[in-house]
């Protein structure tokens, strides 16, 4: 039970949503945009979040699109990870998003919700970082399309009142061969939950024009793709093991109850090595 009240709104247009946010904010109601709502419900139940109002974006048609248009895939922020999985439209996103939580929760978690969540792992972001996705943001001044690298640094840095409307990916990049991994603290639980759990390391990579692009989460407290890491991995003048050793130096690797920094480093190196094998990148 959520032990306090909030107002619930389901606007029909993006413009209505941002205007409503503005009004509610001015009234001091601490509004939140609401997608699947799994995190808002969980945190509210635990008194860790106190929204005075939630604005459910699932009623906005632009947030529910799933289409191929002019060489790009357009995916609405309110689509659930399961809907994206069933569509088979973007294999790398399906792999990365398909290991978030469990299947029934993915029937509720939306793409936008996963990108904007507080949880560190946010694995759907890995696919977007590796593929240089654009995102469409709605604000009071209208829509703007920006590259994810301009606005995602540890978390999505958009202005107060703005919200994520869509994700746009170049179709050619979305179809490239990929490698995708999630390593959990296996053995702690039995079948079929042995693959459920927070990742020790989660990684995604593609080989674009002979260059490896890698994004990881679990390693640090946010999903990340670093130019220094890509450069180190693509420094083909030195042996592969050395490149991997150089690359992992750039990550601020964490220690927590899922795994120590040493263990995470070990797993990450193995994943990068395997990724190179699978993507035939030597």
């Amino acid at each position: 039970m959520i032990p306090f009240d909030f107002e619930y709104y389901r606007p029909d247009t993006p413009e209505e949503a941002v205007m409503l946010y503005d009004d509610l904010y001015k009234e001091g109601k601490n509004p939140l945009y609401y997608g699947g709502g799994t995190e808002i419900i969980s945190f509210s139940r635990l008194y860790q979040l106190y929204p005075g109002a939630v604005i459910d974006i699932k009623g906005i048609p632009e947030c529910n699109v799933l289409e191929q248009k002019n060489g790009y895939l357009v995916i609405g922020a309110a689509l659930t990870l399961s809907q994206i999985q069933e569509s088979n439209i973007f294999p790398l996103l399906i792999h990365c998003g398909g290991r978030v939580a469990d299947h029934t929760i993915r029937d509720k978690i939306t793409l936008g919700g996963n990108i904007c969540a507080k949880i560190p792992y946010r694995e759907a972001v890995l696919a977007l970082l590796t593929c240089d996705a654009d995102i469409m943001i709605q604000g009071t001044d209208g829509k703007k399309r920006v590259n994810i690298h301009e606005v995602f640094n540890q978390f999505l840095r958009i202005n107060k009142g703005e919200f994520l409307l869509q994700v746009i990916i170049n179709e050619k990049i979305a179809r490239l061969p990929f490698a995708s991994y999630k390593t959990t603290a296996d053995g702690a639980v039995a079948y079929p939950q042995d693959k459920i759990g927070y990742p020790v390391v989660s990684g995604a990579g593609i080989n674009k024009d002979g260059k490896l692009r890698v994004a990881v989460s679990g390693v640090c407290n946010y999903p990340v793709r670093l130019a220094e890491v890509d450069n180190a991995l693509n420094d083909t003048g030195i042996p592969r093991f050395e490149r991997i050793n150089n690359a992992v130096e750039f990550f601020p690797i964490i220690s927590d109850m899922e795994g120590s920094a040493d263990y995470r480093t070990f797993v990450l190196k193995n994943i990068l090595f395997d990724m190179m094998e699978r993507l035939e990148y030597y």
Binding site: D5, R10, Y191, P192
Partner: protein
């Protein structure tokens, strides 16, 4: 624009019937099903989306009702275990001994019923993936897997 300020009467489409209930905007669907409608088949357990005991179908998709606001369900078809009468999945759970204490069973049946409708040709990998959503700590998952396979086989035979 649809909205709910604190507490109002709302219509829910539950198990094929329209029910008018008083919903507080912050009420979870689980609480409304149990406390307002007396539909106690959806079980409260972790209330955190971990165990799956509260699973219901929303437009045919299994969803954990503890992680859904009741107001979100307005305009959608909700199916709880009480809405599954004489279904093959329920009978097959009995035939396959796919439960023990039974507390998690309604959640499992909802999830498995959803699976049989959405993926009638599900292979072992899909069954395994879907079963990750529900926890049972007193019997094994093999019997539950057998029950799903049995229903899928029955449905396939009926189609031929």
């Amino acid at each position: 624009m649809f909205s709910l300020q604190k507490k109002e009467f709302m219509d829910l489409n539950i198990n094929g019937e329209k029910k008018s209930v008083v919903i507080r905007s912050a009420d979870t669907l689980l609480d409304v099903l149990r406390n307002q409608l007396g539909l106690t088949g959806a079980k409260p357990s972790c209330k955190n989306g971990d165990c799956g005991a509260c699973t219901v179908l929303i437009d045919g998709w299994p969803v954990k009702s503890c992680l859904m606001l009741a107001v979100e369900a307005v305009g959608h078809e909700i199916t709880s275990i009480e809405g599954l009468k004489e279904t093959a999945m329920q009978k097959t759970f009995i035939d396959c001994f796919a439960f023990q204490c039974g507390y998690c069973t309604s959640g499992f049946i909802m999830n498995c019923h959803g699976l049989s409708r959405i993926h009638p040709g599900a292979d072992y990998g899909i069954i395994r993936e879907w079963l990750q959503s529900n926890l049972c700590r007193c019997t094994g998952y093999e019997e539950i897997t057998d029950a799903i396979k049995s229903v899928l086989d029955q449905n396939a035979a009926l189609e031929q």
